[in-house]
Amino acid sequence: MKLKQLESVLGDLEQFSNPKVELEQYPTGPHIASRMLYTAENSFGDVSNKVVADFGCGCGTLGAAATLLGADQVIAIDIDSDSLELASENAADLELDIDFVQCDIRNLEWRVCSVGHVDTVVMNPPFGTRKKGVDMDFLSMALKVASQAVYSLHKTSTREHVKKAALRDFNASSAEVLCELRYDVPQLYKFHKKKEVDIAVDLWRFVPKRNLGRGI
């Protein structure tokens, strides 16, 4: 599937109608989502024929993109039942087979962590502006679950911190910013004063350490 085509399909997905501020629910726009997964697939081969997990899936955009690009199995996880319901309707509309699980990413100590079942984790985590540190909780867990790679978005302003935490604390063997993107945050919440703001975000690719032995 071509990039343009992917972006256009993702653009038709239903977005949150009542986003929850405490969960920092911001939709991952089709522009960013398509580029994220397209890069993961075409530059690194981390999507097709892989098992992919979407952490904090929201309305399911990244998981849908992974499925459209040929992932063998996609598991999408979110803490919020409204998001999961919407995401599962989105998947059904596109006839995509995605398994949804309701769980707090921070309590994800499943069998999945020990067997290396999941190859790739993709996520647009909460940036941690409302609940400090939650972005790093996501990253830490993603690096435990993924056996090959983690793709994630973080505010550009936190770049040094993210890099240090990933390499020093979360056992990443590499942490690389693939590109800087503009994230359009529409006026979703009352505390937003401007109609729309752009914030600079980094698209990261992290490689977990245990992968080194497998020669990648």
Partner: protein, 123 residues
């Protein structure tokens, strides 16, 4: 929820030593056909905990998987692969619950989505 996902989940309640595999209580099972992909099945096979899959498939009313973990030579048999495919990818637990094998705590499954959220005193 498909049994492929069931095979990855465990009960992670604080203090539980062995939360895998979760037992299945069935209210409603649905079947959805998906394309047969032998390569995927061969890749995933070594990662599957066989006893858990057999037990789960029986709770879902399917009893054609062999009890003993099959030799990898079975992966050349289309007959076997078709059954493995069906159990892993086509059976969905639509309504019911997953039950922690140690504490009996139930994790409800509604509209195919298991709710694995823990209560405050379980974390």
């Amino acid at each position: 929820m498909r049994l492929l996902t069931h095979n990855m989940l465990s009960s992670n309640i604080k203090g539980v030593a062995n939360g895998f595999p979760l037992l299945i209580e069935v209210e409603k099972v649905i079947e959805k056909q998906v394309d047969f992909n032998p390569d995927f099945l061969k890749n995933i096979f070594p990662k599957i905990e066989w006893q858990a899959l057999v037990q789960a498939s029986r709770s879902m009313g399917y009893s054609e998987l062999p009890e003993e973990s099959p030799e990898s030579s079975m992966l050349d048999s289309d007959d076997f692969l078709m059954k493995f495919h069906h159990v892993l990818l086509e059976l969905h637990l639509e309504e019911g619950a997953l039950v922690c094998p140690e504490t009996g705590r139930k994790f409800p499954v509604n509209k195919g989505i298991p709710n694995m959220l823990l209560h405050e005193d379980e974390v």
